[in-house]
């Protein structure tokens, strides 16, 4: 990238239920460590030196409150200061902040993502149903899970991927999560345990879905000059891209993600990556449902089309493998909805800073953080991060 941008500080709270805390209180638990680490504060608007701007990520449809950005204003120091609200995953907030800084308008931007999944614990699948078409799809009770199941069946049928291979993704990630103190669920589970956890929608079982959680994540991004002054552990954004597929799931070939292929190609090009399998040290991908990780191996070019199951079986993507995927335990170990992608970036940054504790990937210098959002992963985003600009 011509105008270099780095992530200079990160913090995240764990994923336990936090109904005792208001959204701004929860968010500030993640913001405070960032302020402490960088020693920065919220100065007068459009004056350089402190935190220039804030960017909130909060999906208002998940809390049924429009302009939900209002809630976090105090915590992100937004009163009479520049502030933006991305109504999508925190990963898109990081994407937006990168361009805000690269545009030259701001030098530092604080990105905060907050989500209480427990707010809608009485709402069942109603919130997810609202994403679908009000004429053709909502009346059929569609939600994220049963549409994901439609995709899973198609994908498995197309490429002969087995239910055991999907369950193995969950087993791998939950095992990785054992050394992640933020994780909600972790442990040594067998493929049989996971397959026996009961169907949510065939072929997806309960343990193959993301446990709902409450969480907040904060990151400070800075331009090159400021980043170098603020930290010796800057993690650089080397490439980033997102791409949106069509809305009607019946239009799409659900066995592959065209949008991911487009996003990955663009991000690799920006980062100067020619052979992702050789060059990438680790990847954090969205595994809201276990089968997604296998499809994403393919879309990201870690293997050939249809080779996701085999790549997993080769053990290359486990923690000690050549290309560890989801060393954090992924979303399958628990994640709040709006944080799914941002938590992936968080883990990659932690790994590249060498602060991942027992799950540290030795010598990690370049990592990939991926987000899939929307019905059957309609929106895909790829971000390449590195220890060198």
């Amino acid at each position: 990238m011509a105008n270099r941008v780095a992530i200079v500080s990160i913090a995240q709270v764990n994923y336990k239920e936090k109904l005792a805390y208001a959204p701004e209180e929860l968010a500030y638990e993640a913001i405070k460590p960032v302020l402490e680490e960088t020693g920065l504060g919220f100065g007068p608007a459009y004056e350089k030196g402190g935190i220039d701007a804030s960017l909130q990520c909060h999906e208002h449809s998940r809390i049924m409150r429009p302009f939900s950005g209002c809630q976090l204003l105090e915590a992100v120091g937004a009163n009479l200061r520049p502030d933006e609200k991305v109504d999508q995953d925190g990963a898109l907030g990081v994407y937006e902040a990168v361009w805000q800084i690269a545009s030259g308008d701001f030098e530092t931007v604080l990105v905060v993502s907050e989500c209480h999944d427990s707010v809608n614990r009485h709402a069942g699948n109603a919130i997810e149903n609202l994403v679908f078409d009000p004429f053709y799809h909502r009346p059929l009770g569609l939600d994220n899970c049963n549409t994901a199941a439609l995709q899973a069946t198609r994908y498995m049928h197309q490429y002969g991927v087995t239910r055991e291979q999907c369950a193995k993704v969950a087993a791998k990630n939950l095992k990785n999560a054992k050394s992640n103190p933020l994780a909600l669920v972790s442990g040594d589970f067998t493929v049989e345990d996971i397959l026996a956890s009961g169907f949510v929608a065939y072929p997806i079982t309960k343990m193959e879905t993301r446990p709902f959680a409450d969480g907040a994540c904060a990151m400070l991004l800075a331009n090159e000059e400021r980043a170098k002054k603020l930290t010796r552990k800057a993690v650089w954004i080397k490439g980033l891209a997102n791409c949106c597929d069509g809305y009607f799931i019946g239009d799409r070939d659900l066995a592959e993600s065209k949008a991911l292929v487009v996003a990955a190609k663009k991000a690799y090009q920006m980062a100067g990556i020619t052979d992702v399998r050789k060059e990438m040290d680790l990847a954090e991908v969205t595994d809201e449902f276990s089968y997604q990780e296998l499809m994403e191996y393919e879309g990201l070019g870690f293997c050939q089309k249809g080779g996701g199951g085999k790549l997993l079986d080769s053990e290359e993507t486990r923690l000690s493998g050549r290309l560890p995927v989801n060393p954090s335990g992924g979303a399958l170990s628990g994640c709040a909805h709006t944080n799914i992608g941002m938590a992936r970036i968080f883990e990659v940054v932690l790994q590249l800073r060498g602060e991942a504790g027992d799950r540290q990937v030795e010598g990690a210098k370049i990592g990939l953080a991926h987000l899939a959002a929307g019905p059957c992963g309609q929106l895909q985003q790829v971000m390449i991060l590195g220890t060198e600009p």
Binding site: A2, E24, A45, Y46, E59, H60, S61, R62, M64, R65, P66, F67, S68, G69, C70, Q71, L73, E74, A78, N79, L80, R81, P82, D83, E84, K85, V86, D87, Q88, L92, Y95, E96, W99, Q100, I101, A102, S103, G104, D105, I127, E128, L130, V131, D133, P134, A241, N242, C243, C244, D245, Y247, F248, K258, A259, V262, A373, G374, P375, Q378, L379
Partner: protein, 399 residues
């Protein structure tokens, strides 16, 4: 900004109280008109920024729903959700993307469609007022639902008390808006209105009468931004984005006491501060002289007067005198809201973008019957929303 950015296309649908079209159909129509205006096709568009508060549509994740009809299928998309400011914030996002080199052509789309329960279950007006109030704190402020009307009634009261502005002058101001809207084929409330018509309209909350408050409008708008190199290829008349400033506020309306319970002058703090910053950054010392046209986001008639003062277009408590002598008319010395403004058309999500787009039309000289009759070189557009937030865009004919 690292690169120059220009507006190259603007499109809007007809604005009506209730549209027979779906949100997707309206969005598609506005996007087509913006692309026709720029004479480009969807292939020329690199990315889309969606401005939406899909809560008002009873939906979720609307950037997914709009993919096929707005045109970000197989393209990058970003969705911004602030408040009434949302399309302004989204335009600023697009400007950032282009300035940073993320893309060369960015399309911003905003659509306001307001489905409601069957009228015998809940009347539409009360329901929409409740949807606005749903943005407030669930215990502290939401319960009594005074919302925007309450806030602006208080502001109007305070302004009358401090400035001595008469009800006739404000009605005159409203009649000016109606006159301008009548010349704007896309405006919602069109038709000549007399001072008497305004003064006879039902009282909502004294001194705010029905005609003083913005209507509920359904419609869509789209703006296309491009980098310097592309803009000059696309059009002979790019409208250059000189600067953008955006300021937010506090969570509770209580922080806006300078607006509804002021001591000397009514002030929207974010607007005062944002204008100070923008003028300073751009060397504007006498905004009333230097700006050729201003589009203000005025949710009620009084807001136009108050915001003029906050923008330093005149002395505090003096705006009504300017309006009274016709200075803010389309052919006056400082034309304000030649489009008819928000009191004549308020589709919610696209409202701020309409201000930006209308200034662009004026600078291009393409505003047709509501064109300001002089050379328009520099124009300023404001937005309003959330708990008193302000996005500003300064647009210029010259680079």
């Amino acid at each position: 900004m690292k690169r120059k950015v220009a507006i190259v296309g603007f499109g809007q649908t007809e604005m009506v109280a209730r549209s027979p079209k779906t949100k997707m159909e309206l969005a598609n129509q506005a996007v087509r008109r913006a692309m026709d205006d720029a004479q480009i096709t969807i292939k020329d568009v690199d990315e889309v920024v969606i401005a939406d508060i899909e809560f008002f549509h009873g939906s979720g994740e609307s950037e997914m729903q709009l993919a096929d009809c707005v045109g970000h299928y197989m393209k990058p998309v970003m969705k911004i959700e602030t408040g009434g400011t949302v399309s302004g914030s989204a335009c600023i996002s697009a400007v950032h993307h282009i300035a940073a080199g993320a893309c060369d052509v960015s399309l911003v789309s905003a659509t306001g469609v307001f489905p409601a329960p069957p009228p015998d279950v809940i009347p539409r007006g009360a329901f929409l007022q409740a949807s606005l109030s749903a943005g407030m704190h669930p215990v502290w402020e939401k319960w009594c639902s005074v919302g925007a009307i309450g806030l602006f009634a208080l502001m109007a009261n305070a302004y009358v008390r401090l400035s001595g502005c008469t009800e006739e002058t404000v009605a005159k101001c409203r009649a000016k808006a109606a006159r301008n809207a009548t010349r704007n084929p896309y405006a919602h409330l069109r038709g000549i209105m007399t001072v008497e018509d305004v003064l006879k309209s039902p009282m909502l909350m004294a001194p705010l009468r029905h005609l003083h408050m913005c209507p509920i409008t359904e419609g869509s708008a789209a703006l296309i931004f491009a980098s310097e190199e592309r803009a000059e290829k696309i059009t002979k008349n790019p409208v250059w984005v000189k600067d953008v400033v955006s300021l937010h506020g506090a969570q509770y309306w209580g922080a806006l006491h300078e607006m509804f319970a002021p001591k000397e002058r009514v002030a929207l703090p974010s607007l005062v501060k944002a204008c100070d910053i923008l003028y300073k950054r751009n060397g504007i010392t006498n905004p009333a002289k230097e700006l050729d046209v201003v589009e203000i986001y005025e949710p009620c008639t009084w807001a136009e007067l108050v915001f003029m003062e906050n923008m330093r277009l005149c002395e505090p408590n003096e705006a009504w005198k300017l309006a009274d002598r016709g200075a803010t008319e389309i052919d006056g010395e400082l034309p304000i809201n030649p489009s008819g403004g928000v009191t004549c058309t308020n589709p919610g999500m696209p409202s701020t973008m309409l201000r930006f787009g209308e200034v662009a039309l004026q600078i291009r000289g393409d505003a047709g019957e509501h064109q300001v009759p002089r050379e328009v070189r520099l124009g300023l557009a404001t937005g309003f929303g959330g708990t008193g937030w302000t996005p500003l865009m300064l647009l210029s004919k010259y680079k």
